[in-house]
């Protein structure tokens, strides 16, 4: 007995070593069985909590990247929607003589009046408190931005490209007394919006005819009349309607759809048929 204890004491380290290695081997061989083991796996609670925290952190850090990918996804979807929106099918007009279409189908033809190219951009400078407010974006002439392109955000209208350098562009936002936006109400009334440069959250539509059928909460959209903005982009919603006592006309207060204070990403729209239309309209004015 004494000898046995002595042997154990003599070889205690070796016995412990072999014992622990056997435990490891048992753990390894058990992991190949279907039951799995609950003790040593990343499914146990403590490890799970740490991995959850890590994943939360990585999720937060990668939010910017995710934003960019969503932006590109949106750009693609908008383009797809536009394919259906900007074509005008004249198939019901029997009176007109049909033009021969390229596909050989002579029963109807399709007129395209706009074809937009979307470019995504990130806002790097922004102001809301001047008389004319400019937004700087990180895209310039190198990426194909030119003067006069319209800019929208995910929620509504933003403005128009005013100055372009190689890598940056400056957008005159609709918070400006320089540009008025041609707007359309739900009942079809056209009028332009103005901004009284007091508050970035309030737009005005002055001198609306009294018979205009408008309620609080109505949406106001752009029209394509000015050839600056694409049609049917949300400008804002009506927050209150006021009647001017002097001339009996209505004045509408709008809340812009774009939150100019927290603008981060915008789309720059290039109308590929825009220059042609502009040239034509200028010709008519000159004569």
């Amino acid at each position: 007995m004494r000898n046995f204890i002595l042997i154990i004491r003599r070889f205690f380290n070796l016995i412990l070593f072999v014992g622990l290695e056997i435990v490891c081997m048992v753990l390894i061989s058990r992991s190949h069985s279907l039951q799995g083991d609950d003790l040593v796996s990343s499914a146990n609670t403590a490890v799970g909590i740490i991995y959850k925290k890590q994943s939360d952190l990585m999720y937060y850090i990668s939010l910017g990247k995710m934003n960019d990918s969503l932006l590109n996804e949106n750009m693609r979807l908008r383009k797809t929607v536009d394919k259906y929106k900007t074509t005008d099918t004249l198939q019901d007009m029997k009176v007109r003589r049909e033009l021969a279409s390229t596909t050989g189908d002579t029963t109807h033809h399709i007129v395209k009046y706009a074809d937009y190219i979307y470019r995504t951009a990130r806002v790097i400078n922004n102001s809301v408190d001047g008389v004319n407010n400019y937004i700087t974006i990180n895209r310039g002439s190198n990426e194909g931005i030119t003067k006069g392109m319209s800019v929208i955000s995910g929620t509504g209208l933003v403005g128009r490209v005013e100055y372009v350098s190689a890598h940056f562009a400056s957008i005159l936002s609709i918070l400006s007394n320089k540009q008025q936006v041609s707007a359309r109400l739900k009942d079809g009334t056209f009028k332009s919006t103005t901004w009284d440069y007091e508050h970035p959250d309030v737009f005005l539509m002055k001198d609306m005819p009294q018979e205009t059928n408008v309620k609080k909460g109505d949406s106001v959209f752009t029209t394509s009349f000015g050839n600056t903005f694409p049609a049917d982009v949300l400008i804002g919603t009506v927050t209150s309607v006021e009647i001017n006592k002097k001339n009996g006309k209505k004045q509408l207060y709008l809340k812009p759809a774009t939150n100019f204070r927290s603008l981060q990403y915008v789309y720059v729209l290039e109308n590929t048929l825009g220059p042609e239309r502009q040239q034509l309209e200028e010709q008519a004015i000159k004569k």
Partner: protein, 180 residues
């Protein structure tokens, strides 16, 4: 700082470094399939840096704890523990061979570049790390079928892990202020 508190803190820091940062880095030195993915390992450093006079059974138990902790994070069920225990068992012998005096004479000291010098420390950590990687990758593949790619993997992982361990040592060694 108390030697126990210091080592427990180091355990936590090294495990978190390994699990939360290095496990996210997957490297391959050669195009697939010869140089399959591998992950640099710095956690053996905890065993390497325990004080000189640590008894073997403490080394073995702490190696087991460390290995099982890493295993539960990486779902490798005992493979890391197996390799770490092997390394911990050999540590005392390697140190005895390298150090001029008996290990019990180095009181309150731990293996480091300062106490051992550059060359002995590199030999010490390199040898034990190589043992660790040999055992780990052999247990992981558990066959002699692809011995060539196994050796290649061990060599590549060893070089990378050694680089990471040196970076850790250089970062966390207190510099001698009086030198300037």
């Amino acid at each position: 700082m108390n030697v126990y508190a210091k080592n427990i803190l180091r355990f936590v820091v090294i495990v978190f470094l390994q699990v939360l940062i290095l496990n996210r880095i997957t490297l391959h030195w050669f195009p697939e399939p010869a140089g399959a993915l591998f992950i640099p390992a710095i956690y053996p450093l905890f065993i390497l840096l325990l004080p000189f006079e640590t008894p073997v059974w403490v080394l073995l138990l702490s190696g087991f704890t460390l290995g099982v902790t890493i295993d539960s994070f990486m779902t490798t069920a005992g493979m890391h523990a197996c390799a770490t225990i092997f390394m911990a068992y050999l540590r005392t012998n390697v140190l005895n061979a390298l150090m001029p005096r008996n290990l019990s004479e180095y009181i309150n000291q731990q293996p480091s570049i300062k106490t051992m010098g550059w060359m002995p420390f590199l030999v010490y950590s390199g040898f034990l790390l190589l043992i660790h990687h040999l055992v780990f990758f052999s247990v992981e593949s558990w066959s002699a079928a692809s011995i060539g790619s196994l050796l290649l993997k061990i060599a590549a992982s060893f070089v990378t892990s050694m680089a990471f361990i040196l970076v850790y040592i250089l970062l966390f060694t207190r510099q001698n202020v009086a030198r300037a």
